[in-house]
Symmetry: C2
Subunit: 431 residues, 2 copies
């Protein structure tokens, strides 16, 4: 681009209509002129060639994405990733804030993804290393989306659980148990105090555990546990499958007695989730397969906060995400950013319940609670409930006991005296 051409992709914030633009925050490692690279980043994601040959026209004023801010953070000796074909020249790390006119494609998730993290941004000349850090939507865009049906308060009302985290458990063994045995251990966990027993994200509708039968048996066990305990209880069925089976599988799960549904957001596709949201009357829980592959590298890819916002937008009532602690390989600030993306105001879109998970148990509950900083989260052990040395009923009870201790301000070890379930959990998982 010539210098004049570059200017056409810059604007002041006061010059753009905030209701007509998404705001995108990128971190980029650029080779050569940061100003030229930023202009290319805006151009490649919008009108890359803005006039026909031989015709005086300029499509940029309406259709061009515009650089609002360009901040050079530091000079680098070389790009932090080895990327083929990178030209030689000075390298700088920059923050680039772009206003993207969403009228280029409309309020549609696949087209949004294609523009803001597609070929354009990731093949921008002079930008070998790029991360989409955040995205902000104007109300006019958000109003086209339903968002979560239940959200945090709706989930609480459904279960009748207030003032404490929701206790979920991933039924384990996750793969290989026939439905009857699977229902048996879920029933134990509900009796012990679990709110929601859920399928693993890898267990959906295989021949050896057909979803319809599993939902029927777990739905029945769940109803019995509700009657027995007088508490709200849900079975969360994983309906992750081919897109053209989603609604059918949904209906089978609901008919069987599932009270919530798990969908692997990226494998199924966020757009298919949006479709499902229009169809279902149950809460939708997101699981996170594939997200790490595009987000774990600090300097490159798509930030987990972006994926969290998009899952909320697509209509998930809860977002299961990699949580605190070394097991999940996430920086604590990044987990907090995802939790915040679930809960903070988002125009007309209700909050999603954050469910930060990863090798949790009664021994980690207090730490997770302190780090989240509120009771508005889901806590989702697997082995911490179903691998408890005294079994799943004791595993679930150990969570409730741990919360009683936290709520009462009593040290866990002290509260565990005379409470065998909690004592055994601390011994097995407290390492």
């Amino acid at each position: 681009m010539l210098s004049d051409d570059i200017d056409g992709f810059f604007a002041r914030a006061s010059e753009i209509d905030p209701e007509a633009h998404l705001i995108l925050e990128y971190q980029a490692e650029v080779v050569g002129s940061p100003r030229a690279a930023a202009a290319h980043l805006a151009s490649e994601q919008s009108t890359a060639q803005w006039r026909r040959v031989g015709i005086e026209e300029d499509l940029r004023p309406r259709f061009g994405a515009k650089v609002l801010e360009l901040e050079v953070l530091e000079a680098l000796p070389e790009p932090s990733l080895s990327v083929p074909g990178v030209p030689s020249g000075p390298v700088s790390r920059c923050r680039i804030r772009i206003a993207h006119p969403y009228g280029n494609f409309g309020p549609r998730i696949p087209n949004l993804l294609s523009a803001v993290c597609g070929e354009g941004p990731f093949f921008t000349p002079g930008v070998p290393v790029l991360k989409l850090l955040d995205i902000h939507f104007p109300r006019s865009f958000l109003e086209h989306f339903q968002g979560p049906r239940f959200g945090v308060s709706g989930l609480r009302d459904l279960l009748g659980v207030h003032g404490r985290p929701l206790f979920l458990g991933v039924i384990k063994p996750n793969i290989g148990l026939p439905p009857e045995a699977f229902a048996g251990i879920a029933a134990e966990a509900w009796r012990g105090g679990l709110d929601i027993a859920k399928d693993d994200e890898m267990l959906a509708d295989p021949e050896w555990s057909p979803l319809a039968e599993r939902a029927r048996l777990l739905g029945e066990a769940c109803r019995e546990a509700r009657v027995e305990t007088g508490e709200g209880k849900l079975y969360m069925a994983n309906i992750t499958d081919e897109v053209d089976r989603l609604l059918e599988l949904h209906d089978a799960a609901v008919a069987g007695g599932a009270g919530a549904l798990l969908v692997n957001a990226l494998p199924v596709g966020l757009s298919a989730v949006r479709m499902l949201r229009k169809h279902t009357k149950l809460p939708l829980f997101a699981h996170f397969p594939m997200i790490a592959a595009s987000s774990r590298v600090a300097e490159f890819g798509i930030h987990t906060r972006v994926w969290t916002r998009l899952q909320r937008l697509a209509g998930f009532d809860a977002v299961i995400m990699p949580g605190f602690g070394p097991r999940m390989m996430m920086d604590e600030d990044e987990v907090r950013a995802c939790i915040q993306a679930c809960l903070e105001p988002m125009g007309p879109i209700a909050p999603s319940l954050p469910v930060p998970g990863g090798s949790d148990s009664a021994a980690t509950l207090e730490s997770v609670y302190r780090k989240v900083g509120s009771v508005d989260f889901g806590f989702v052990p697997g082995r911490g409930v179903f691998g408890h040395p005294m079994g799943p009923r004791a595993g679930a009870a150990s969570l409730r006991q741990a919360w009683e201790a936290i709520a009462a301000g009593v040290p866990l070890a002290e509260y565990a005296q005379g409470r065998r379930e909690l004592a055994a959990a601390l011994e097995a998982f407290g390492g």
Copy 2:
């Protein structure tokens, strides 16, 4: 895991049923024992807890993924990426070959993705850095998929083009032109010799260029160009949109006169593409937004070859991919691996036409042809046709002239004498 537990996730190739297993090739940077890390990698993607508490059972023989080969390639001073929470210990780079019993989930793309590149692999203890390098499917798995309807030979028959690459062009300006003007420049390109004029991957169904109207105008222009030139011609409409609009938009595009369809594979979701494949009678072309975000880092994520195989499996007749040259930031061997993944035998699944692209023109055709090593590819300039200094008709003509020169073994510069279109292309794009 204890040492005995680890053994349960290893097997010899002769001990597994090849028709019941996917073969997965990973490169991993492991901390601590490579053998323990490889066992965890197999465990986490299958039956992570393989027995109930208090019950003597072992779900691993049937449901456990098994490490077939573990090769330690080199010791590393530290993992090549900075990943939070990584324990201290010796670091090694390993190749790990795993047999995964696909009966755990069945012949379904979302569940496949959830298992082989989901939470399990990317959150395996001791494996902070992982890349899924390749995946091989047994015939019994492939037989559940339709794959491409046309494939390479079907596309050639449809266009009547044999013995040379197919010439595609991305109509530019890509974003912002109303349908009538858009059709005008496409018509010029067809008259100049283009086989397929296509929508940009970011242009779908916006208010300022409704797909139904665009398809009608471009379909009409395409029919006229067919009559005028006596050649096969296609308009490729981009129907990328929300999943629940895909079929409706497909039908509108077909009714208008589209002869091929473009779908942004990952933004829409591979499973939705599989659904579309069941519905359509037209060739489907894949575009690659979002793939770079999970594949560009050499040591981490999901290799482009895997994405290519999955696009072919989902039913794409052609796969547009980042091609040769510095513009697309791909190693040449990686481009070749993707081309091979399109064309090599894949049980009952027909080949997909590889379309390696990136700032191409008459000036790059010979180099791309030599690198592909065959005529079985699509060549897809944007500006090289629509930014040609004499206009799109000359841009398209320059491609055909360049191919005549290559086919005749005449140097391009020599052949350009007296051929203004080619001469102008070489001057404008020849660098």
